[in-house]
């Protein structure tokens, strides 16, 4: 039975936008109990599609043609009141950001109860019982406690479970999930995906699942629709699309998904140690004004590793594992509590901040967020030249070097006088790399350098980093949460959990034979790991 049938749907964008339609001529069907994944990169129109179905389009975006039928009933043209009655009862929706999707000042139980109240279903007693049932069903421990809690008292995964409970409270025919796991850690993501999958089987719910991640698609999709710039370029059964893509774009996207199989190891014997870290400790502890000491968080505990010239060490862990703190401690962006850090032949720890400045050129960093890592008020040329200038290189030389570097990272010397906002995310990340390289560092700390990028751009940046490493003999500390990425670029991988390195092995060995249980659970959680995906 077809629950959702979208036929030739077009959504018009406001006049000044960069294209006429957010979505154009889209058709798709979902049957009861089936999951359809809509895949695409940012700006493909996948979210708009979801919002159109539930009638929550931004006021500037208007349906311009086609039809959306839910269980045979036309949704386009329904009045606000009719649409409202439909929401929650016939369609439920989960959003991407669990941290902001729940009302921060309402108790969890009230937010679930509200769904029943809004649709005048059940009496008070039944509502309460149903609420507890739901919380139990979505796998939350101690529903009584959770029901009375406020959202901020729950973890991200727990909140997303609450969201699912809210969305499924009235057993709707259709569940729309808009990137519901993107903001979650990989192990949590696996649990949530599993939960959604179980529930739709149990209740026969049709699921419209929006994602950018082919791993996720491989994990849960029955059907797939690939969107590019508002057009559906390919659709069909999941296994077919994943294994025998017909459209170039689909092929390119799939090819860009990093494989979990690491490339053959480099020969690094005889290379000198570029970075030695021993005994690194860092604890965050709240400094209370009147002795009210807040709880302490151990971000680094006895961390130790060595990176050779030309080697890439991956530092892998989930959020809060301390991996970013370790990277920043090595750079002395954060002062470690204790530890030995040696860059080349220079001891980096213990150097007074004043004398640190000239040493800084030895070790540089590439940041995660390409939008936040470039000063919006300076030209790209200045941003890159600032480094050498800070190290007393004459201005003219520094600017010349900046132009060379822009060439090197593939942007062209002429971009030097432009401002960051004129560049795309991937281009900005190239600028960030050029800035780091401007000082000819020995060591590069790359903190999640590709996690904010679309998958096709991701691959290009990873290639660039590897290429530069080969040419310049850089030692790289590669901080990431993404095991697929780590598999592709790292020679060795250190897995971090709660501030400690629990396992440090050459990449191939780690993937083939993980020793620590945490490493094993991480590997198991990688979406689509067990599904074969078409190789490039």
């Amino acid at each position: 039975m077809t629950v959702l049938a979208i036929d030739n749907l077009s959504l018009a964008l406001p006049k000044l936008a960069d294209r006429t339609y957010a979505v154009e001529g889209l058709s798709l069907d979902i049957d009861a109990g089936e999951t359809l994944c809509v895949v695409g990169e940012s700006g493909s129109g996948k979210s708009m599609t979801a919002h159109a179905v539930i009638g929550l389009l931004p006021s500037a975006v208007k349906p311009a043609g086609g039809s959306i039928k839910l269980a045979g009933r036309e949704l386009i043209g329904l009045s606000d009141g009719e649409m409202r009655k439909l929401r929650g009862r016939d369609v439920g929706m989960i959003f991407q950001e669990p941290m902001t999707s729940l009302n921060p000042v309402m108790r969890i139980s009230d937010q679930i109860l509200e769904t029943f109240e809004s649709h005048r279903m059940f009496n008070a007693q039944q509502r309460m019982r149903r609420t507890f049932e739901l919380l139990e069903e979505v796998g939350l421990p101690d529903p009584k406690y959770i029901a009375r809690a406020f959202p901020h008292e729950l973890s991200g995964g727990q909140r997303q479970r609450v969201m699912i409970a809210v969305a499924l409270a009235l057993e709707p025919k259709l569940l729309i999930a808009d990137e519901p796991t993107t903001a979650l850690d990989v192990t949590t993501q696996a649990q949530i995906l599993k939960l959604i999958d179980e529930l739709r089987r149990k209740h026969g719910t049709a699921v419209l699942f929006i994602t950018h991640d082919f791993g996720v698609v491989a994990e849960i999709a029955d059907d797939v629709a690939v969107l590019q710039n508002g057009l559906c370029v390919e659709s069909g059964r999941a296994e077919e699309v994943l294994q025998k893509p017909t459209h170039d774009y689909t092929k390119r996207l799939l090819a860009a998904v990093p494989s979990l199989t690491p490339p053959p190891p480099k020969d690094l014997s005889g290379e000198p140690d570029a970075l030695i870290v021993r005994n690194l400790h860092k604890t965050y502890g709240g400094r209370g004004f009147f002795g009210g000491g807040s709880r302490k968080v151990v971000a680094a505990k006895d961390v130790a590793f060595t990176i050779k010239r030309g080697e890439t060490l991956g530092l892998v862990g989930e959020s809060g594992s301390g991996k970013s703190t370790v990277g920043r401690c090595i750079l002395r962006l954060i002062e470690p509590d204790d530890g030995f850090i040696k860059v080349g032949d220079t001891e980096f720890h213990g150097v007074p901040v004043r004398q640190l400045r000239p040493l800084r050129k030895r070790i540089q960093m590439v940041f995660q967020d390409p939008y936040a890592s470039l000063n919006p008020r300076r030209t790209v040329g200045r941003i890159i030249a600032e480094g050498p200038e800070a190290q007393d290189v004459p201005r003219a030389d520094a600017e010349k070097r900046a132009r060379e570097l822009l060439d090197l990272v593939g942007l062209g010397a002429s971009s030097a006088h432009r401002y960051p906002h004129e560049f795309s995310g991937g281009q900005r990340q190239r600028i960030g790399i050029a800035r780091a390289l401007a000082l000819d560092p020995d060591v590069l700390v790359a903190d999640e350098p590709v996690s904010a990028l679309d998958v096709s751009v991701q691959a290009q940046i990873l290639d660039l980093i590897q290429d530069l490493q080969k040419r310049l003999g850089l030692a790289i500390l590669f901080v990431t949460h993404d095991l697929r990425v780590a598999a592709q670029v790292c020679d060795r991988i250190a897995v971090m959990q709660r501030g400690e390195i629990v396992e440090l092995e050459p990449t191939a060995q780690l993937f083939a034979n993980p020793k620590h249980p945490y490493t094993r659970s991480l590997l198991a959680a990688v979406p689509g790991a067990h599904v074969k995906v078409a190789a490039a």
Binding site: V105, E114, M163, V166, G292
Partner: protein, 325 residues
């Protein structure tokens, strides 16, 4: 317990700030030309050195300034705010006499402006872009941009002089001898004009803030969640948008409440309201140091107190903030 510790901590901090303020004000006021004796001389229309000397000795102004400061600070710790030079009465008595009037005025203005501001803010935000929104925002902008004393004078002329509906000055009808309910009604009538005038600016301010806050919250993810649940619009506005939008407005209002107490000088002056704002202004021109310092002390203490209350209320109203931190 953590709440108590939080309050205790804030109180200790508040006391330190208050003592610092008292010290600064002490020197600030002494930097002014002339002293209470010269004012009395200036007003008496006749004076000689002997007269001035007697007064200064009586006021203790012939002692070294550090001694005076030390005496003042040690007294203040025991809540002894000294003696008024001019009125020969304890400053604390003078202030306590005037404080209720000020609290009544500012309290009424505060409640009036906060209530109306929130209601208008919600109305405007719900009808953003429509004519009723324009009317409210234009009105708010008008009162926001018009000097308070101007409105005070205009309302006096219109409502007291032309229409004769309301008394224009004072706290109550002198000599009427009202008691009980009749007295309360009388005070209430006298209160309307000054409280409204004082409150209008803040009404405008809160209306604008509430509107902006509503619009900001309206774009939140959780509002979308509520829509996706099929919650009726009115309920979304009440329970989701307004409930969250009100927090920053109430916080700001609370922080301002303390300031209003000391800032009602203009209103009190124009409407002859016997509050501490006027007491301060008179004490200033009369160089009645102790009274001036006392008013500053008490009104600063009000600010500290209101800030504390706001914080506590905020902590209770917003579950995200851990009580005690």
């Amino acid at each position: 317990m953590p709440l108590l510790r939080f309050i205790a901590g804030r109180l200790v901090k508040g006391v330190i700030v208050l003592i610092a303020i008292a010290t600064m004000n002490f020197f600030l006021i002494r930097a002014a030309p002339g002293d209470p004796a010269s004012v009395l001389a200036g007003e008496a229309g006749a004076a000689d050195e002997e007269f001035l000397r007697q007064l200064r000795q009586q006021f203790g102004l012939d002692q070294p300034i550090t001694t005076q400061l030390w005496i003042y600070l040690t007294d203040i710790i025991t809540l002894d705010l000294g003696f008024s030079y001019r009125q020969g009465r304890p400053v604390l008595d003078l202030i306590l006499e005037r404080l209720p009037a000020t609290l009544l005025l500012t309290g009424a203005a505060f409640i009036f402006s906060l209530t109306l501001g929130i209601i208008f803010g919600i109305l405007a935000a719900r009808r953003a872009g429509k004519w009723s929104d324009s009317v409210i925002t234009t009105g708010a902008l008008f009162f926001y941009a018009t000097p308070l004393f101007w409105i005070a004078l205009m309302s006096q002329i219109i409502f007291a002089l032309w229409l004769g509906w309301l008394p224009n000055t004072g706290f109550r009808t002198i000599g009427a001898g009202y008691t009980g309910l009749r007295y309360a009604l009388d005070v209430g009538l006298h209160l309307i004009l000054p409280a409204t005038t004082l409150g209008l600016f803040f009404t405008a301010l809160y209306t604008r803030m509430m509107r902006a806050s509503m619009l900001e919250i309206a774009g939140s993810d959780f509002v979308k969640t509520a829509r996706a649940k099929g919650v009726p619009e009115g309920r979304i506005v009440r329970r989701h948008i307004a409930r969250n939008a009100i927090l920053p407005v109430v916080t700001l209002a609370g922080l301002q409440a303390g300031q209003i107490v000391g800032g009602a000088v203009l209103t009190e002056t124009v409407f002859g309201w016997p509050g501490i704002g006027r007491l301060m202004f008179e004490a200033l021109s009369q160089r009645d140091y102790q009274v001036l310092l006392g008013v500053f002390f008490v009104s600063s203490a009000m600010v500290v107190l209101f800030n504390l209350i706001t914080d506590v209320v905020y902590r209770v109203a917003d579950p995200r903030i851990e009580v005690g931190r």
